[in-house]
Every structure is written in C-alpha cells, then in structure tokens.
Amino acid sequence: MNPIMNFVEGEIAKKYEYPDFRPGDNITVDYKIVEGAKERVQAYRGNVIQIKGTGASKTFTVRKISNGVGVERIFLYANPSIVGLTINKKGKVRRAKLFYLRELVGKKARIKERKYSK
C-alpha cells in the first residue's frame, strides 16, 4: 500500500488485540450498543465463516442459527464498538471461506472441533 495510507491507517484505526481466531472457530463478539442514552453490551455467538480484507477495512463474518433462521453479521476488526472477543471452540475446516454452510442445515451444518494445535 501507499506509505501515506499505511501511516494514516496506523494512526486512526483502533488498535485491537483479539485472540487468534480462524474461519471455522466458534466465537463470541461483545458488541457495544447505544440505545438512546443507555449503553449495553450484546454478545453475538456464532461461527466465523470468512475473514476478508486488510488494514482498516479488514472484516470477519460470523454466522449463527437464530430461531431456525440463519443470521450472518459482518464485523470490522477496527470497530471500536467491539469490546471483547472470545473463542469458544476451534473448528477443523479445510477452506478459508465456509459459504457451503449456508446450504446445510441441522447435523450436517456442524463443524468438527480441532483438538490438537498444529
């Protein structure tokens, strides 16, 4: 990237330190929500199905099944509203993008757990 853009993104983007998660992992994102004057933290738990982009526009997509409906949410890494991120389970997958999960339901849509680190 252009050195000026690199400098600017380093300067303005939030410095984040998340645990090292990968596509297939089951994570919980703690997201700050402002309702009128009140602020609260909402936890969003699901599987990471995609990590995309670099720098200030790097994002990850979390998919979960909510009341039988598939819900996907895209988060910016540098979003200051993310106050916490935890890994619940590491997944064993063979792809970087897990879009095939959208076609699967029930037991087929499970991800095997990665028990041993490489």
């Binding site: 000026i4 400098f7 600017v8 300067e11 526009s57 910016l76 200051p80």
Partner: protein, 196 residues
C-alpha cells in the same frame, strides 16, 4: 480512501489528502495586479524539467522548483513570499470544505454511461442492435433542428469537478495530511484544490 470512526461510533468513508508543505511563491496585490491573491506551490519538481522563467520565479521566492502552483483569492492568512503554509493554519477539524479536481477520464462514452439514460430496456420484441441507443433527439419539420445542449454521447470525465459540503474529519499536522469525508474527484495521486 479509508474509513474513520467518529466519536459516536459511526463509520465514515473518507479520503486522505496530502496538503503540504505549501510555499508562497507570489503575493498578488490590488495596486499591481488588480486583485488580492496568494500563489502557493506544492510538490517537488526536477530542475531539469522546469523552464528557465519558472526557475527564476521560484528563485524569487527562494524555494525549490514546484510541480504545481495555484492562485488563491481572498486568502485570510497574512503570508509573505517564501513562507510555508501548513495545514493546521488553514483548516480545523469539523470545517466544511469543497474539493475541486479533475475527474477520472472515461473516454468517449454513450448516453447510458454519460447521462444515465436507461437504454431500450428489453432484449426481446425485435431488438437486436439498439440496446443502449439514445432514442429520439427531437421532432421533425418543426423545429427542424436539434436543440442546443441535447444530451448525446461524448467525452466523459476528465473535466473540472467540484464536490461541496465535505467535512474535515481529522488533521495530522506533522505530515500535513487531511481526512476529508466521502469521495473526491480524480484518480489516486491527482492534484486537488480544497476551498473553505
């Protein structure tokens, strides 16, 4: 372009503009030139690519050759020739500015791209070669001419464009950088004029 989070947590798309250091290369006055203005130079140019008259012009301001010089009328800040103008002297965060630049050239384009015509809209019912055609450009024996300004195909882009009502989100004075909300005209590395 990049993105910037405001204090309310809103994600705003913004453009990074390098604004200096600019050097005053000439001060124009009412009595001599007929109007008040200040001429700023920006960007380094090679000496061998600068003409002798321009070299003399830059020498008068005791500065190095610049690649771009622009006049600004009604410049509020008092500056003398040869002085540097930095970004934080002129702009403040939250200012509303207009950005002038040369838009990206798109060549000779048809009316669909150039003026947003909708084309024929159907590929069936006998259409085969008029999908993006402009249609009628006027009536027949009266008025017996095509009105001036009729929107037709032609050169698209590569012209002077001004975008108004852009906000300055952040200033980085040590590198003379500005973050302006939204998109601005021109390709990467192009010269723009920022008006307050």
């Amino acid at each position: 372009m990049t993105n910037f989070f405001s204090e309310e947590g809103k994600n705003i798309a913004c453009t990074v503009v390098e604004t200096g250091p600019c050097v005053v290369t000439q001060v124009l006055g009412e009595d001599k030139d007929g109007y008040n203005a200040i001429q700023l130079g920006f960007g380094e140019a090679k000496e061998k690519n600068t003409s002798n008259p321009m070299l003399g012009h830059f020498k008068k301001a005791s500065t190095t050759p610049k690649s771009k010089i622009v006049e600004f009328r009604n410049f509020d800040i008092d500056k003398t020739i040869g002085e540097e103008v930095n970004v934080d002297e002129v702009f403040a965060e939250g200012d509303v500015v207009a950005v002038v630049g040369t838009s990206k050239g798109k060549g000779f384009q048809g009316v669909v791209k150039r003026h947003g015509f909708h084309g024929v809209g159907d590929q069936t019912h006998g259409q085969h070669n008029r999908l993006r055609a402009p249609g009628s450009i006027g009536a027949a024996s009266y008025p017996a001419k095509v009105f001036k300004g009729m929107r037709m195909a032609g050169q698209t882009g590569n012209r002077r464009v001004k975008v108004k009502n852009l906000k300055i989100l952040k200033i980085i004075p040590e590198k003379n950088l500005l973050l302006v909300s939204g998109a601005i005209p021109g390709h990467k590395g192009a010269y723009v004029i920022i008006e307050k």
